[in-house]
Structure formats: structure tokens, C-alpha cells
């Protein structure tokens, strides 16, 4: 059987993590090809809807990464983002969405190694958890075929 190759999408800010991932490249540090990056100006720009769209469209895992606190190019975008993530993670978890599939991280433009670690660790973790079948199922309306009654 073919090994499960998770689809992981990374939403990163332009100034720190994107540049950090560039450094991973210039340093020729190898990481798993499962992760593909979408660039944003700032983590503050990353709308929570974007994360939900990613899961719906088949992402098994998500990485969200930006500048360390106090390092934001726009000075405070990442602080606002952090607040939203705190709330969002609470909500998603409460709604039964597997938040361990979302890795939040701070990766600076100097942390090429860290970026490779974040990617590789996330890929390994998602491989462990498996494909996000549950979420994909609702996109094709085939829910509750086998799971049985809820615990209400």
C-alpha cells in the first residue's frame, strides 16, 4: 500500500517566515515536499475562513507562521493574529475540528533550520494522525454512514 502523503498548506507572512523559508532554501536544508506555501503580507491578514477553506478543499494539515512577537514588520499584526488564533482554536476545538492538525509557529527570517523542523515535524505528525477524512466527508455529504449515534 502506498504511504499516505498528507497535503499540507502553509500560510506565512512575507517578512519573517517566508524569508525564513527562503533561507532554508539558500542553506539547502532539505524538508518534505508535502508542504506548499501561500504568502501573505502579515499573519494579521490571515482570515480564519482561509483555514476552514483549506480543510474543506482537502488539506490534511495547516501551518500558520509569522514573525515572533515584537518582530512584526507592521509592529503589531502578529499580536492581533495571536489573539484571533487563541479564540479560533477554542472555537474549532469545541466544534469538533481537530486543532492538532493546525501548527502555529513563529519563524523569523533567520530561522531557516527552524522552518525545516516545523515542516518536517508537522508532516510527521499529520502522517501519524492520518488523512482528514471526517472533514472531507462533509464536503461530499456522506456523513454518519458508519459512526453511529452521538453522545448527546
Amino acid at each position: 500500500m502506498q504511504e499516505f502523503e498528507p497535503k499540507i498548506v502553509a500560510f506565512v507572512c512575507n517578512w519573517c517566515t517566508y524569508a525564513g523559508a527562503d533561507l532554508t532554501g539558500t542553506s539547502r536544508i532539505k524538508y518534505s515536499a508535502n508542504v506548499k506555501i501561500i504568502r501573505f503580507p502579515c499573519t494579521g491578514r490571515i482570515d480564519f475562513m482561509i483555514l476552514m477553506k483549506a480543510f474543506e478543499n482537502g488539506a490534511d494539515g495547516i501551518i500558520v507562521s509569522g514573525c515572533h512577537p515584537n518582530d512584526c514588520h507592521y509592529s503589531t499584526g502578529n499580536f492581533h493574529a495571536r489573539r484571533r488564533w487563541i479564540v479560533l482554536r477554542n472555537l474549532l476545538n469545541f466544534a469538533g475540528i481537530e486543532t492538532d492538525r493546525i501548527q502555529f509557529s513563529w519563524v523569523s527570517a533567520a530561522e531557516g533550520f527552524k522552518w525545516a523542523d516545523v515542516v518536517n515535524n508537522t508532516v510527521a505528525a499529520i502522517k501519524e494522525i492520518g488523512p482528514y477524512e471526517n472533514y472531507r466527508k462533509i464536503a461530499v455529504s456522506t456523513l454518519f454512514n458508519e459512526e453511529g449515534a452521538s453522545n448527546e
Binding site: V9, A33, K36, I38, F40, I46, K53, N57, G58, H80
Partner: protein, 666 residues
């Protein structure tokens, strides 16, 4: 239907070694909306760019994706090339198949697949790109400099010498700042007044500089290139045009015992006064709080003696409106207040003074004509203790930072003392000696070796008075943490440099951010040290953090260059990648509901309120509006907006959405 061109770069072998570039180009060419695709050895080379330009013209391309290195590297290159070929530069995007693909993955089908999907993502994004034009903002070529210390003076002169108008606002009756209070300056020991006063005069006489002393900034509206500032000129109770500065009034004023601020309380001044002899402008003001006339309703001695009849008791504050294109903040610093050190008896014992007071004692124009005499009885102290880090680097006092200038001026004080009191013994209690700077370490060495200053590495725990002596109890950590007790005649505390009083209010008025210690915050600690987060507002000197004179002057010149660069064109050109609040035809106007939750997330105060009025002039809607001059394009507001009324060019909702779809649905 789009006509997109895809250009895949081999980057020599940097990409092609692990990615099948030809295949990527071929597959991309089959994507919907892609009109042309090609691969080439070096896209960034001249022939590569020519190929791109030719293809744009030949195939009438309306979008370009260059799959090559990081956009952080060559996005400007290819956008320029597009512009040269007549394609709007913002219709060009880059897929990063080098740093994010070929360099980090081994040669394999998977790697080529990834490159293909990275291209596909950008193709879908470009389809949603909009042609954008750079933003042009008109610039008023006048700079406002707030603060007339050495930093403000330097910035003002530099800008004025570039041919631009400058308005300088100083809160006190004279410019000069703390530097005018200093006796001599490290590490050269040249007289502070001698080097500063010519520059003060130059400010007053410069045809491009308008000087408002005894004035404060009341409000700041507008944005880069177009600030509207209200300045309150406090009443000096004087007609400045009539006054000749003869000074007769100041000698006749019956109030003579007002503690002199310039002398840091070590001398007295009258109620109508010029702060110091070399003041600029050299015309007096009436201190209404201490003037007998304003207190008791009669006196008017100054009015009687004034030969030109210049006194105006009924003069009121005046509000002046200044239109300016840039603002330089140079409001300087302050030193810690006495009540901070009960353990040192600062404020309790007359002979425990701060560094600035010592400057006045050592100054030839000071209250003792440069003799070091202690305030209590005028005796010459034979044993003097300098305490460095009084408050600085002390989390218990709430000041974790190093005040930076104290090590140097303490060494200077010890030297000046020794030069004036040859048989005296100076002690310095210190934590570390921080003498980084040109000729600084040598200077400290001189204080230790030539002027025989006793440096004791340790902190002072307490100071108390006993039998007319000040007992300084401390520890010598280099001698096995031995307790040290010195019976001193005078103690000088190198009190921490702190943000100027009112800096928080000023930051809020001017709309710049400030740090936990109320110092103004720079836009970037390394690369934008004189900029603030608010476009068009710059920092000079110690209002940002404690700085010595050379640093303050350097920062001021830096800020001046930024202002001059801003003033070098009639129009200011900016990248159009900014947020925008949608507008629609009435009666909808916009999907913005005017909740303004976006307003407080904006780091740049770029979100304004726009009132939509009906024909009768009644406000029917209040909508958010992004100020193009201020927005830096972070998009934090976009993610917060519930109605999706705010979007951002370059990273729009449609673009991002298309990218995710393309990335995941292969």
C-alpha cells in the same frame, strides 16, 4: 478569458537539477487561461527579460507568472520588465520554485509536481490580479521640528540647508535643551555652550526656519506630506517685536527667589526672566504662576521700567496653524525625579544631587561660577562619591534598561572635579563601565589613571547624614563583596534617563507609538531607526532612548535626510498594495457597516471615518475609509472585517481564495 504567460527559469542548474523545468513549462501551458509558456536558462538575464518582454507584446499577454527564485529577490526585476513591455507591473507574479522547491527537495517527480502546483497557484492568482497604479500623494515641503535641543537644532538646520522650510516648536522660553545646561562634554572636554550657542543663533537667523518658543503642539491631523498641525504659542506677556532684550525688567522684578529650572534649583530667578544668558531668543517671558501681578493684582514694575513699553499683561495664548509634510520629534529626555531614591536621601539631603545639577556646579556660567561647592554650605567637598546606575538597570525601580550616557558623564564629572579640586578624592560606584564609542574607553582610563578616581565595582545600598558627613554604604564586589563605607562631603547620583514628561500625551497627539518606558518607538530597531510607524514622522535624539550628543546629532541628521528625500519630489510615490474599503452606488454605498472595529487594529491609524451625506447635508452613513498615505498594507483589518468590506490589493480575498483552490484541487 485570460492570456497569461508562464516563464520557467532553470537558474542555471539551481532549479533544473531537481525540477524538470521543461515539463513544468509544458504542463503549465496546458492550464486554462495560459496563452504562452516557456522555460529558459536565466530568466533574470538580459536575454531572459527580453524574451519575457517580447512574449508580452507578441502574445498580448494580460498576466505573467515567472517561476524562478523568491519574489523577495526578483519580483521588482520582472515587474519592471513587464512595465517596460507595456503590461501593468502588478499583473506579474512569481512562483518560488527555487528556495521553496528545488533547493529543499531531492530530484524526483514529487519535486516537479510541487513546482507545477506552485505555478498553478500563481496562474490562478494572476487571473484575479488587478492593474494598479502607484499612489501619488502631494507633499507640502515644510518640516515641523518638535523640540529645540541639540537634536532638534541639528535636524532643523540640515533640513533648512537643503532649501526646505522648517517650523521649530520649543516648549521652554529658549532653545538649547539639556546640552545648554552641560558644562563640558565627553570625551573631548570642550565647552558645551561654546559649540552649541552658535548653532542656536543659526537657527534663529536662518531664513528658512520659523522658531516658536514657549509653544506646544496642540493637535496633529492629516498624513504624510499633508499634516495640519495646531501649535499653541503660550503667552509670554510680552510684545516680542518691541522688546529689545535689554534685560532691565529682569533686574527690577521684585520676585527674586524662584528656583531656577535651568540651574536645576541651585539658583534663583525673577518672575520675568530669560532662562540663561545665551538664550535664543534672548527675550524674557513672565512666569505667571510666580508673578506678583498675576497673583496679587498689582506690581507691574516691569511694565514701568520697560523702555520700549513691550510688556503685555493681557496677552493671550495664540494658536498657529502649520501645514507641513513631515514631522521630526526631538523632544529629548528627562532624569528621574528625586522621590525615587529614599535610600539615597535624594531630595532630603541637600548635598545629594543629580548629574545635571553637578553640570551646573561645574559650569563656568553656573551658580558657583564653575567652583565645585556643595549646596548646603558652599564648602568645597574634599571627598565626593558618584553613584552610577542610580535607577538604571534596576528592575526593582522599574527601569531595566541602561541609560547609556551615565558611565561617560560620571567619568567626566570625576575628572572635572579633580581638575578643580586638586586635593579632592572622587569615588565612583559602578556596575559595569560601558564606554563603547570613539575615544570613550580612553577617556574613562584617563579618569581612573591620570585623575586618580577610585572606581568601586558595587552598588550603594544607602546614604545617610551623620555629623555633617554623608555616609555612603555600599559593597566592593571585586574585593570579595566587602562592605564599603565612605564618609563623603557630597554625593552625585547618575540618575536614570527617562522619557520626557508628557511624552505619552505627545505620542498620542502626534499618533506615533511608544514603548513601555514611554520613549517613542522606531519603525524598525535596526533598519528604520529614525522612522516611526507613522509615515512622515521621524525621530531624532533622546526622545527615542537615552543617547549621547554624537548619537543624537547623527540621528537628527538621519531624520533630516529622510525628510529631505521625502521633499525631493512634488508627489510622493507609494506601492499601491494597500487596503481599500469597498464603495458602491447608492443606496448601498458600501458593505461597510461602520462598526470601526478595524480602527483600533490598524498599526498606522490609516482608517478614517467618512460621512456620507444626503442632499440636505444630513449624515446618513459613516463608513470606514483607508488613508492611502498612511496604509502600509499589512491587511490586519481585512482579516477582522466581518462583512468583507475591506480588501487589500495584492493579497485580495479573491486572490487568496483562488490560490487555496488551485493549491489543493489538483
Amino acid at each position: 478569458m485570460s492570456r497569461i504567460g508562464v516563464f520557467v527559469c532553470h537558474c542555471g542548474e539551481n532549479i533544473s537539477a531537481t525540477v524538470d523545468c521543461e515539463k513544468v513549462a509544458r504542463i503549465s501551458g496546458e492550464l486554462k487561461g495560459v496563452e504562452f509558456s516557456a522555460d529558459y536558462k536565466y530568466m533574470c538575464s538580459d536575454p531572459g527579460q527580453t524574451m519575457l518582454k517580447d512574449a508580452i507584446r507578441e502574445h498580448k499577454l494580460d498576466g505573467v507568472v515567472v517561476a524562478a527564485c523568491s519574489p523577495r529577490m526578483h519580483e521588482p526585476t520582472f515587474r519592471n520588465a513587464c512595465a517596460e513591455a507595456g503590461l501593468n507591473p502588478y499583473l506579474c507574479e512569481m512562483s518560488n520554485i527555487r528556495e521553496h522547491c528545488s533547493w529543499v527537495h531531492p530530484k524526483s517527480d514529487l519535486t516537479t509536481d510541487k513546482a507545477e502546483s506552485l505555478v498553478r497557484v500563481m496562474v490562478e492568482k494572476v487571473k484575479k490580479n488587478k492593474a494598479l497604479n502607484s499612489i501619488k500623494v502631494p507633499v507640502t515641503r515644510t518640516a515641523l521640528v518638535i523640540g529645540g535641543g541639540v537634536a532638534g537644532i541639528q535636524a532643523a538646520l540640515d533640513i533648512a540647508n537643503c532649501g526646505h522650510k522648517v517650523v521649530m516648536v520649543e516648549k521652554l522660553p529658549s532653545i538649547g535643551g539639556h546640552m545648554s545646561q552641560l558644562s563640558e562634554t565627553f570625551p573631548t572636554l570642550d565647552c558645551s555652550q561654546c559649540i552649541l550657542t552658535p548653532r542656536m543663533v543659526e537657527v534663529a537667523q536662518h531664513p528658512n526656519i520659523t522658531l516658536y518658543t514657549y509653544a506646544e503642539v496642540e493637535s496633529v491631523d492629516g498624513f504624510i506630506g499633508n499634516f495640519k498641525v495646531k501649535v499653541r504659542k503660550k503667552s509670554k506677556s510680552l510684545d516680542e517685536h518691541l522688546c529689545t532684550g535689554c534685560g532691565l525688567c529682569t533686574t527690577k522684578c521684585p520676585q527674586k527667589k524662584i528656583p531656577n529650572e535651568f540651574e536645576r534649583g541651585l539658583g534663583f530667578r525673577p518672575a520675568i526672566y530669560v532662562p540663561f544668558p545665551q538664550a535664543v531668543p534672548n527675550k524674557p517671558v513672565i512666569d505667571r504662576e510666580n508673578c506678583t501681578y498675576y497673583i496679587k493684582g498689582k506690581c507691574k514694575v516691569c511694565e514701568i521700567v520697560c523702555p520700549t513699553k513691550a510688556i503685555r499683561f493681557d496677552q493671550e495664548d495664540e494658536i498657529v496653524e502649520v501645514d507641513c509634510g513631515a514631522i521630526v520629534l526631538a523632544t529629548g529626555f528627562d532624569v528621574l525625579k528625586p522621590d525615587f531614591f529614599p535610600e539615597y536621601g535624594y531630595g532630603k539631603y541637600k548635598d545629594v544631587i543629580d548629574g545635571l545639577q553637578f553640570e551646573r556646579l561645574a559650569s563656568a556660567s553656573g551658580p558657583t561660577q564653575g567652583m565645585i561647592r556643595r549646596p548646603s554650605d558652599g564648602e568645597i567637598p574634599k571627598k565626593i562619591v558618584f553613584v552610577a546606575c542610580a535607577g538604571s538597570r534596576d528592575p526593582a525601580k522599574g527601569i531595566e534598561y541602561c541609560s547609556k550616557i551615565c558611565c561617560m558623564y560620571t567619568a567626566k564629572h570625576a575628572m572635572l572635579y579633580k581638575h578643580k579640586v586638586h586635593d579632592g578624592t572622587p569615588y565612583v560606584f559602578y556596575m559595569d563601565i560601558r564606554a563603547g564609542g570613539k575615544n570613550y574607553e580612553e577617556f574613562v582610563r584617563r579618569a581612573i589613571v591620570e585623575d586618580e578616581t577610585h572606581y568601586v565595582r558595587g552598588r550603594v545600598s544607602t546614604i545617610y547624614e551623620k555629623n555633617g558627613k554623608l555616609i555612603v554604604k555600599g559593597v566592593d564586589t571585586l574585593m570579595g563583596a566587602q562592605p564599603v563605607e565612605i564618609e563623603a562631603d557630597m554625593v552625585v547620583l547618575a540618575t536614570a534617563g527617562v522619557a520626557n514628561k508628557g511624552s505619552e500625551e505627545l505620542a498620542q497627539t502626534v499618533h506615533v507609538s511608544y514603548d513601555a518606558h514611554k520613549f517613542f518607538a522606531e519603525a524598525h530597531p535596526k533598519l528604520k531607526p529614525v522612522e516611526t510607524n507613522t509615515a512622515g514622522i521621524f525621530l531624532a535624539g533622546a526622545c527615542q532612548a537615552p543617547k549621547d550628543i554624537p548619537e543624537s546629532v547623527a540621528a537628527a541628521s538621519g531624520a533630516a535626510v529622510k525628510v529631505a528625500a521625502l521633499f525631493s519630489n512634488d508627489l510622493l510615490t507609494r506601492e499601491p498594495l494597500i487596503a481599500v474599503v469597498n464603495r458602491q452606488a447608492p443606496p448601498v454605498y458600501s458593505s461597510c457597516v461602520g462598526c470601526f472595529l478595524c480602527q483600533s487594529v490598524c498599526p498606522y491609524q490609516a482608517i478614517e471615518r467618512e460621512e456620507i451625506k444626503n442632499r440636505n447635508g444630513e449624515v446618513i452613513r459613516t463608513l470606514a475609509k483607508v488613508n492611502e498615505g498612511l496604509c502600509q498594507g499589512c491587511g490586519t483589518c481585512v482579516a477582522l472585517c466581518r462583512t468583507k468590506a475591506i480588501d487589500i490589493y495584492g493579497y485580495s480575498n479573491q486572490q487568496v481564495y483562488s490560490e487555496i483552490m488551485a493549491l489543493l484541487n489538483d
